[in-house]
Symmetry: C4
Subunit: 238 residues, 4 copies
């Protein structure tokens, strides 16, 4: 796979899917400022498009936000399409500067269908101290199944951010990781689930922070965390 | 009463009332994100529909939010109708995962006409520490008549949340209880009053928290709390 | 002046003025939720209407919000008109439960043309501790000319709130007073100025609170406060 | 240059540019309340208009907000045009009371094309303590290239605010300075860049403040700050 290929070299079903996912990803970007997870042009959402004939995922694509574009201007047409090595395949803009981290995550976590990155305030404040968020709320047990872990400090420019995300999340039930001094990355079966994880990550980061300002929250028993997590993952919703 | 009954088995006046209450409950859900009490699909509002011929309340119904549906999509049609044992009577969706707690409250507190549950940030932060909110504001004396109490830790899946709500509120003037490590539940004569209690609960949770960050609020005398509460419950409004 | 008089007993110029002031006061109420100074039905704005022929102000009226009405429903028609002894003169609703405090202020401070009351979060947090807000910001010197003072604890139902407002503000350049355990009242030459003072009071209450969370703000010299206040009151604006 | 000159004495290309910049500056003012950097009429944005024939910049103009006008009323027509000595050249309103500080900055920093001033809450809270914001976030290294410095206390009315801005920013990579007990001023190649710096200044002021509330953020190495800053200034965006 190289930059000499174009979207036309992919199956028609996949090109149709790219069209739909461009709409989905553009629409989901509106949730980031709505929930006050980002300011100005920060933050990005991506979603994987699976190749219908190559089961190992190596020929999958993903749709992501272009770099440095205002949230008011984000349309489906402006979204860009990348291969899993992080190269631009289709689109008129440069992809997000976090594209390599998204690509690494899709390459190494085949079950992941969506990735979100923000600098949401409270989650980033925990990340600046390099402290995991302890699991002291039932909603946190539901969504994260335990503490939200911290990933290593990593500078943009190579695979180190992606590797930090994958290494940290591989050993955790949490769909969110706080990259040290940087901010949260979240994953999910699709982009909508990863956006939900980003929203809930900030919500619990804020609530636990505020609780700690005036004393010590009561810890949850591991067995309660397990049963809340099991029920929520299997029963909640429609 | 069992799942073999349908809404058609209830008196026409009650079915008319169900139609009106579906509108009311759908509309009141919009107040939860507006006052920033919930994110994503969290939180729920319900209202009792009284049986016109069975005075003991055992044949009452209640209207509640479906599980895991986004606030943007909540219409009167999507609201579901349950019996007081928490079973779905009418509706195309699964009821809220907190339905059993609402049902228990309606069964054991016949004067309660509305119930609201949120994970609002400051109230939940107090709940995580298991600390009641002290009554140090005149608006808190007006609305709650004293401190906002904490209920026991209870795991979803049986009657323990409902029992915790009823046991705690039965011994208090407060229409709000902070369920430990979980979040606030509020009650009222109808759903609108319970929503107001949820809004005011977060407001006083936040204001008292912030006051405590820089020192000790001055306590209110019990006699002042009593007179403020009496006046507000009997004189305020139209 | 008694409840047997009606608005028709006042000069036509004054009745015209009442009509305009109803619009102004209804419109200014929208600023309170916009700046997040109030929730639900809390808070109120009033403006004096001067009698054109009675110079001592004793025959003035004021327009104020009705009690317990939602901010979404506030129209000019719903505003009520009261005499300076706090009695309803014109309107279909009961006046705000804070009407006596507004009336007392207008009776005893003839230069005051507008009064606002809120329970805005940070100002009320200072009020709960009974602590004045120290003057450590140039914008605070501009608007308040020194610290924002605390008024006494006073229970609703007689003149004690009004007396606390007037006594405290008579000895201060500040147009805002923090009534202990209750919340801020602000005054101005008209209702718009009193709303601005309420907005600025919360803004400086929040900023000084946050500054104090991590250390000690640098005090401003009294001479700098004086010169900032003088310039702002005389030069700023159009 | 004196008040006897008018805009008609400037080249046509410059007058056309003034018209465009009035629109830009009016539009950018809407970003200040949108990002909650200002309340009421506080804050101001300006942009330089370069003289096409006088290379030393001495004949440049700038467009700025009028004094004390509400954000809802700000139109391109209301914006005022000033010379670099801070005198009104064109417009029906008095210029912002911070005009002298903007003018001083344009006179002494010829590469600056836009200036913004706010009283945004967290940045002003740091300014009240006279503490620089330490660089502990990758987004802060990206945008500010190090800590955000504090400028001297300066009273409005002469050149001391402008001199404090210029002296402090001349020795820093940061486009933001926290003027002691006052608030942030930001600069950029144009007004949009200065608005972005004001938004990011408040964002990092808040995030670092919150991180410090519960412990010590991990410092970033100077070499990491340098490489993040270099990459962001040269690669990010389209």
């Amino acid at each position: 796979m190289s930059s000499s290929r174009t979207l036309q070299d992919y199956p028609e079903a996949m090109r149709d899917q790219v069209r739909r996912v461009r709409e989905v990803v553009a629409g989901l970007h509106a949730e980031l400022p709505r929930y006050e997870l980002v300011v100005w042009t920060a933050g990005n959402v991506s979603q994987r498009v699976r190749h219908p004939q190559v089961a190992d995922g190596s020929q999958d694509l993903f749709v992501i936000k272009p770099s440095g574009v205002s949230y008011d201007e984000l349309t489906a047409e402006l979204m860009v399409v990348c291969t899993l090595d992080g190269q631009l395949l289709d689109g008129t803009r440069a992809p997000s500067s976090d594209t390599a981290a998204h690509a690494y995550t899709y390459r190494h976590m085949p079950h992941v269908g969506g990735v979100v990155h923000t600098h949401s305030t409270y989650a980033t404040a925990w990340a600046a101290r390099g402290e995991p968020i302890p699991c002291v709320l039932t909603m946190m047990a539901d969504e994260f199944g335990g503490p939200i872990p911290v990933g290593p400090f990593a500078v943009i420019g190579d695979d180190s951010i992606g590797r930090g995300i994958v290494d940290t999340l591989s050993g955790s039930r949490s769909p969110a990781v706080l990259m040290a001094n940087h901010g949260p990355f979240t994953i999910g079966p699709d982009a909508r689930a990863a956006v939900k994880a980003a929203v809930m990550c900030e919500e619990v980061a804020r609530t636990v922070h505020i609780s700690l300002q005036l004393g010590e929250p009561t810890p949850l028993d591991a067995s309660h965390i397990d049963s809340l997590y099991e029920r929520y993952q299997n029963v909640y919703g429609q």
